[in-house]
């Protein structure tokens, strides 16, 4: 491969790759994200490879994540943009013959919404239509393992622009003016961070990428790295040049093998072209990036813990009266940004501050805290119809995300209703229906008692117990607390004990107040953000759903009908048609009866897994709790 050793050479190669890409003609884009691969995407890719082998006019692109994971494996026929969902390897020949050769739409592969309306084009599907894809723009079009695809879409041109026409201070000023705030959770303005690191004393400085996406239920960073790794690398290059760093690290979760592989390939290809290494684009600027894999510790997403982990040590956070911008990795000035933050950088320089600040909320012309600019990728998951990754402008309402893009609540025909949405990961909060019409941005979510976090958005329906959700997060954090400081270590243990007894019906009067007391002590006195925010899931659920806690404690009643110790499954004899499906599916054979008559559940055998409730087509299985058990079952 020829080294690209000047901005002019880059411009030439971009033009060349544009011509070579063949994207003017027909190409089939097949999603190669983790979700689609898990649903059988590799088989689909192989089938298409075989089918088009003899047709030089049709290209095949194995892309990164398209976002609509619920409907994978996804296949998009370009340039028309026809979306086929849940495609199987056996469909390839048919799609090729009918759609590609004859332009005929195959209706059965189209996405249909809740009202059974079919959509031909990807852009018209509500899931995509209401998004604003900037960071994700190239996902779905480029092969992440081919740098040429990235170049053909003007890749590395932002780097070239800053290297040739901007001084480091101008670059930093641009990032500050753009109002770009950290996408990893804190929402700290990226430009301010860069400025501090640049101003710090010392010749050796580090630029790091936080890819330790530990928030359960969030996977946008993984999809960026799997779908467009060069955008992260280009962002880091621009940051390194502005800050004055020659060495960078990407700290990534070991649970993301595909992302690690694609990053490695991308780094190698960037080195071959000379975008990484010495004298980049013929300038004095030199920079290279190493990959460091995490070991499955949530706390290592915290900046100081992450840096210790890169040093090969145990990741326990330290106090930050000395900022990592002054003394971070190996005690050198260090700048750490999250994957999504880095991936935004090239766009800001390609399209300008005015364009970026036109998207989002507030006014950042005075200072970058004045609003939330640009887009944010959320992972919309849980009890929602269209699970997947959605990139939306700041300022969109929760209702639009969940109902317009997400298609509403799963099983709404069976009566399921929206109850709460959890944002911000384990340190975030649960937001109830009354806030659904408020705009989503950094400050808005904080006001609602939650936070942006890295962008997990877990939708919960009325069959979700909020006390149980709080218990889940507290137990999660209890296991992940590094144990260094007492408030976090002991506070979480005590909270866990209290919540675990409430969910089994052994809560005591005063437990709620005790939880609140512990929460405030931890918030004030914990060493790092993990402990300081650990109580948010508890506090927000107490704030909005206090009566659910009270009913658990006083009446042994679980509103979400989820706490297994407090519920009983019962078959309503009047509604049961005796179809026997529940008895067939019951894993413990606890259900018996006679065909076409009624069935009964043996409570001593029942493990309360809920299979019978889910499979019954006649709503004959009811879930009882508290006094209902006595009333209906005489227990």
């Amino acid at each position: 491969m020829v080294k690209v050793n000047s901005p002019k050479a880059l411009e030439e190669i971009i033009q060349k790759k544009k011509k070579e890409s063949g994207k003017e003609g027909t190409y089939i884009s097949i999603c190669g994200g983790t979700g689609c691969i898990a649903s059988g995407g590799n088989g689909v890719l192989e089938a298409f490879q075989e089918v088009i082998a003899d047709d030089p006019d049709v290209k095949l692109v194995r892309t990164g994540c398209h976002g609509f994971c619920e409907r994978g494996p996804l296949v998009v026929i370009q340039p028309q943009g026809i979306l086929y969902q849940k495609v199987k390897p056996g469909d390839a020949a048919d799609i090729y013959e009918k759609t590609i050769k004859n332009g005929e739409i195959i209706k059965k592969h189209l996405y249909r919404d809740q009202k059974k309306q079919a959509y031909e084009k990807e852009a018209d599907v509500p899931f995509y239509k209401f998004q604003k894809r900037i960071v994700f723009k190239m996902n779905g079009h480029i092969d992440p393992e081919k740098i040429d695809d990235y170049l053909a879409m003007d890749g590395y041109s932002a780097l070239s622009k800053v290297l040739t026409s901007m001084k480091p201070d101008q670059i930093i000023d641009t990032v500050i003016k753009s109002g770009l705030r950290g996408r990893g959770g804190g929402g700290f303005p990226a430009g301010i961070k860069w400025k501090s690191t640049k101003a710090a004393t010392g010749d050796k400085k580090y630029v790091l990428c936080n890819a330790d996406e530990g928030d359960p239920g969030a996977f946008m960073d993984r999809s960026i790295m799997e779908g467009n790794p060069h955008s992260v690398i280009e962002g880091m290059l621009i940051g390194a040049y502005a800050i004055g760093s020659d060495e960078g690290y990407i700290y990534i979760r070991n649970e993301y093998p595909l992302a690690i592989k694609r990053l490695k390939v991308a780094l190698e290809q960037a080195r071959e072209y000379g975008f990484l290494g010495k004298n980049i684009l013929g300038t004095d600027f030199s920079f290279d990036i190493k990959i460091n894999r995490g070991g499955g510790a949530f706390v290592c997403g915290e900046s100081t813990a992450l840096m210790l982990s890169i040093e090969g040590k145990v990741g326990r956070p330290r106090t930050k009266y000395i900022h990592t911008a002054d003394s971070g990795l190996w005690d050198k000035p260090t700048n750490l940004n999250n994957v999504e933050t880095w991936a935004n950088i090239p766009h800001i320089f390609n399209k300008g501050v005015d364009w970026f600040t036109s998207i989002g909320t507030g006014d950042v012309s005075e200072h970058p805290w004045g609003g939330s600019k640009g887009t944010k990728i959320f992972s919309l998951v849980g009890k929602v119809n269209n699970t997947g990754l959605v990139e939306v402008p700041f300022g969109i309402t929760l209702r639009d995300i969940i109902f317009k893009i997400g298609g509403g609540i799963k099983n709404s025909k069976k009566g399921r209703k929206f109850k709460a949405v959890q944002t911000g990961g384990p340190s975030g909060g649960c937001i109830p229906e009354k806030h659904l019409d408020e705009p989503v941005d950094f400050d808005g979510l904080t006001k609602m008692g939650s936070m942006m976090g890295s962008g997990g958005m877990i939708v919960m329906d009325d069959h979700t117990c909020l006390v149980e959700v709080a218990r889940y997060f507290v137990d999660f954090l209890k296991d992940e607390s590094c144990g260094k400081c007492t408030p976090c270590r002991e506070g979480l243990r005590r909270m866990s004990q209290i919540l675990n007894r409430i969910v089994v019906g052994e809560g005591k009067e005063g437990d709620i107040e005790l939880l609140e007391k512990l929460a405030s002590a931890m918030e004030i006195s914990s060493l790092c953000a993990l402990g300081q925010t650990a109580a948010y899931p508890v506090l927000s659920t107490i704030k909005y759903f206090r009566e659910e806690y009270e009913r658990h404690i006083k009446d042994g009643y679980c509103d979400g009908k989820q706490c297994t110790e407090l519920i009983r499954y019962n078959i309503d004899e009047d509604a049961c048609t005796g179809c026997s499906i529940c008895a067939k599916k019951c894993p413990t054979k606890a259900i018996s009866g006679e065909l076409k008559k009624t069935y009964r559940i043996d409570q001593s055998e029942c493990v309360r897994c809920g299979v019978c409730f889910n499979v019954c087509n006649f709503n004959a299985v009811e879930i009882l709790s508290g006094s209902e058990i006595k009333e209906k079952m005489g227990e």
Binding site: T34, R222, N292, R293, G294, A297, V381, G382, G610, V615
Partner: protein, 157 residues
Amino acid sequence: MDMQKVDAIIEKYNKDETALLAVLQDIQAEKNYLPREAMERVAEIMEVPFSRVSSLATFFSSFSLEPRGEHIVTICMGTACHVRGAPLVLKEVERELGIANGETTSDLKFTIETVNCVGACALGPLVIIDENYHGNISTSEVEEMLEQYQNPSKQEG
């Protein structure tokens, strides 16, 4: 464990102290767990105290100091899987295999583990066995899913 393999892994990272975590990960990938002799060897060659190797191996949840089963049954306990019933799936896997989370069956065939999130939330509840993803698993499908691994002849696709 074959110490030459350990040496080769350390060599790959040029004995670089900062690669300690990566070295341990590679050893575990090779051996399925971290044998004590291997950890001692790492300490010796990389010239770090054994206590440091040990502290890493016990701090990070992805390491196991005990031999693990032939098949690792990993249940995703991320929030999305959790609200879709992952705890019930875990219970069912435990019941089916007769061991608790974190344990290995006496015939060394299965180990049950949990993971905080693998980012395949659309497929929740999700069980990963070895490298195969089993998505949208309900408790009534657990037996059949495990069956494929109990009798490898049935393991197709």
